[in-house]
């Protein structure tokens, strides 16, 4: 219960950002906030797969990018598209792609699974990169941000940075509560069982391939949500959002933050994005600082930022280590 209050408090504070006075509440910081939250959703979706089910995917950007491209291809060029329909189509499209690829990759294990997910993500990358219909290597535009109407009234005016920030924050809240609910449910406990000892889960009677596929599709869907938000915010999609670098970044955020916990994924995403922004503003050779930070965190924090943080205040033994 304690952690739920912490989550609600954190999100309430974040909701205040647009209201803050000028130097902080500027349009740029709202865009930056939306960018960080979008990456957080992407990292959270991968955490369900890597940290909670033990399936390390190096191709998660395929679903992020697929959703973004669905929005780019379906959004009308002359006027704002219907938000609900585009959101459903992009998240559904990403989940469907995850189902198709998931069905194929579940036969492999361990490092081979990592490489097969990479292979399929690269296939999707080259299909998008080499077909002119998708805008080729230069990418494609989304001319108008979609609108979310409820009975004619405009629910969200995504043109305004504050509204868009709140929309992204709500999506992130939905992701955290949704994934939290799944992890606390029977399905989530089955994922944890598979992560710790898949052999024993099969011996108990769980069709583990079906469960792993469910985790793959749910993670793909939430990655699609992040892809949708990216496309709508930037109004521009490019094959590079499907590249293995994007998948690698998501994996790094999850490892950096700490495997297994949603807070870890959030912390990993926030620190990865904000630190690279901050280091870039300091020096031209910012990658040296970023590399140093990453190496330092591996050496000093074996369980990631949040894992390490938890270790510091280890008051009582983590009786039940089920991902909170």
């Amino acid at each position: 219960m304690k952690t739920r209050i912490a989550w609600i408090a954190a999100f309430a504070l974040l909701a205040l950002l647009p209201g803050l006075p000028e130097p902080i509440g500027t349009a740029f910081h709202l865009e930056l906030g939306a960018q960080v939250l979008t990456m957080a959703i992407f990292a959270l979706s991968l955490q369900l797969l890597v940290g909670c089910t033990g399936l390390v995917s190096l191709g998660h950007a395929a679903y992020f990018g697929a959703a973004a491209y669905v929005v780019a291809m379906l959004a009308p060029q002359s006027e704002a598209g219907n938000g609900w329909w585009l959101l459903a189509a992009s998240v559904g499209g990403a989940a469907l792609l995850a189902l198709l690829i998931g069905l194929l990759v579940m036969r492999t294990r361990g490092v081979y699974f990592i490489m097969v997910t990479l292979a399929f993500a690269q296939l999707v990358y080259f299909v998008v990169h080499d077909t002119s219909g998708f805008g080729g290597s230069d990418g494609a535009y989304i001319y108008f941000r979609p609108e979310f109407r409820l009975g004619g009234a405009l629910l969200f005016d995504l043109q305004k940075p504050a509204h868009f920030y709140w929309f992204t924050l709500a999506s992130c809240g939905l992701t955290v509560s949704g994934l939290g609910m799944v992890l606390r449910s029977r399905l989530g406990h089955a994922f944890a069982g598979i992560r710790h000892n898949e052999q024993r889960m099969r011996a108990a009677g769980f069709p583990t391939v079906a469960y792993k596929l469910a985790s793959f599709v749910i993670a793909g869907g939430f990655a699609g949500l992040a892809g949708f938000l990216y496309a709508v915010r930037n109004g521009f999609v490019n094959p590079e959002i499907l590249s293995w670098h994007q998948s690698g970044n998501a994996l790094l955020m999850v490892i950096l933050g700490g495997l297994g916990s949603l807070a870890g994924a959030m912390a990993g995403a926030v620190s990865f994005v904000l630190l690279s922004e901050w280091f870039q503003s300091l020096t031209k050779h910012w990658q040296l600082l970023m590399g140093g930070f990453i190496i330092g965190s591996v050496a000093l924090l074996p369980h990631g930022l949040v894992g390490g943080f938890r270790a510091l205040r280890r008051t009582r033994p983590a009786a039940r280590e089920i991902a909170r």
Partner: protein, 290 residues
């Protein structure tokens, strides 16, 4: 496509396959045998290429640059393992992924600081500069044949070392059960450090040997990284023979793919990997058959 062109394309495939094996050989050792997921392998390859450029221009002779470069590489690998990797073996694989990603960023930036961002070339040594005339008034660069020879030598050397010598047996045993080998009185930490240094040296050697052909430019490391993992994984992790067969297979698929199916040439290698891993989820060869 007449017969001559077909034969030349086959030669191209074999040559590209052997080059791929050489570039991936360091990874076969560090990732395949030692089980360390080393994303910084591309950076070592880049270090090799830049080392060939700087040493060749300093010493004036390519051969001398190679020798000097190899010695430096072993020392470089030894120190790297000691500082960054010695405490990672017990850790989860993903911690190695994070560490080596950090190393990529550091090496990329150090290269930019030390050598700058320009594109450089390394001259082919005079005695290897000629070309052998083959069909269609084309000529095949002698240096590429030299590279293929080096690749075969490395492949044979690795195969014999790992399969036929006691040291090789100890290394393979160490990768399967590190504690057991330690309890048998083998100084496994030193052995691992040497094997890691050997892996780094192989990657640097590949960079130096390929430099005259590949030329030396920023970001060259990232381009070879993925294909090296594909080679090691398709071949079967831990199998040297597998890596060689996989490299040749990719050589043929890539070469003939570019000629016959340009539209999908980029995706062919990944189509191949996906197909193989779905057919044999553990790669072509088991380590025991290596």
């Amino acid at each position: 496509m007449d017969l001559t062109t077909f034969l030349i394309q086959c030669l191209n495939s074999v040559q590209y396959g052997l080059l791929l094996f050489l570039v991936a050989s360091g990874l076969t050792l560090i990732f395949g045998i030692m089980g360390v997921i080393n994303l910084a392998h591309g950076s070592f390859y880049m270090v090799g290429a830049y080392m060939a450029f700087t040493l060749a221009s300093l010493t004036g002779s390519f051969a001398l640059a190679l020798l000097l470069g190899l010695v430096l590489a072993v020392v470089f690998g030894y120190l790297l393992e000691w500082v960054f990797f010695s405490f990672l073996y017990e850790r989860e694989h993903l911690q190695q992924v994070l560490m080596t990603y950090g190393l990529i960023l550091v090496f990329e930036e150090l290269r930019s600081l030390i050598v700058g961002d320009d594109v450089h070339g390394v001259a082919v040594p005079a005695w290897l500069a000629g070309g052998v005339p083959i069909g269609h008034d084309m000529s095949y660069p002698v240096y590429r044949l030299f590279i293929s020879a080096v690749c075969l030598a490395v492949a044979l050397g690795m195969y014999l070392l790992l399969k036929k010598t006691r040291l090789g047996m100890t290394i393979r045993a160490g990768s399967v059960n590190r504690e057991m080998v330690q309890s048998l009185g083998v100084n496994i930490t030193l052995l691992y450090r040497l094997v890691f240094a050997g892996g780094v040296a192989l990657a640097v050697l590949a960079g130096m040997i390929a430099a005259p052909v590949s030329s030396v430019y920023p970001g060259m490391g990232a381009q070879v990284l993925i294909i090296c993992f594909v080679v090691v994984v398709i071949g079967g992790i831990g199998s040297v023979k597998g890596a060689l067969v996989a490299a040749l297979l990719i050589g043929f698929v890539d070469t003939f793919g570019k000629v016959f199916w340009q539209q999908a040439a980029g995706a062919l290698v990944y189509l191949l990997m996906a197909a193989i891993l779905l057919w044999r989820p553990e790669g072509l060869f088991k380590p025991s058959q290596s």
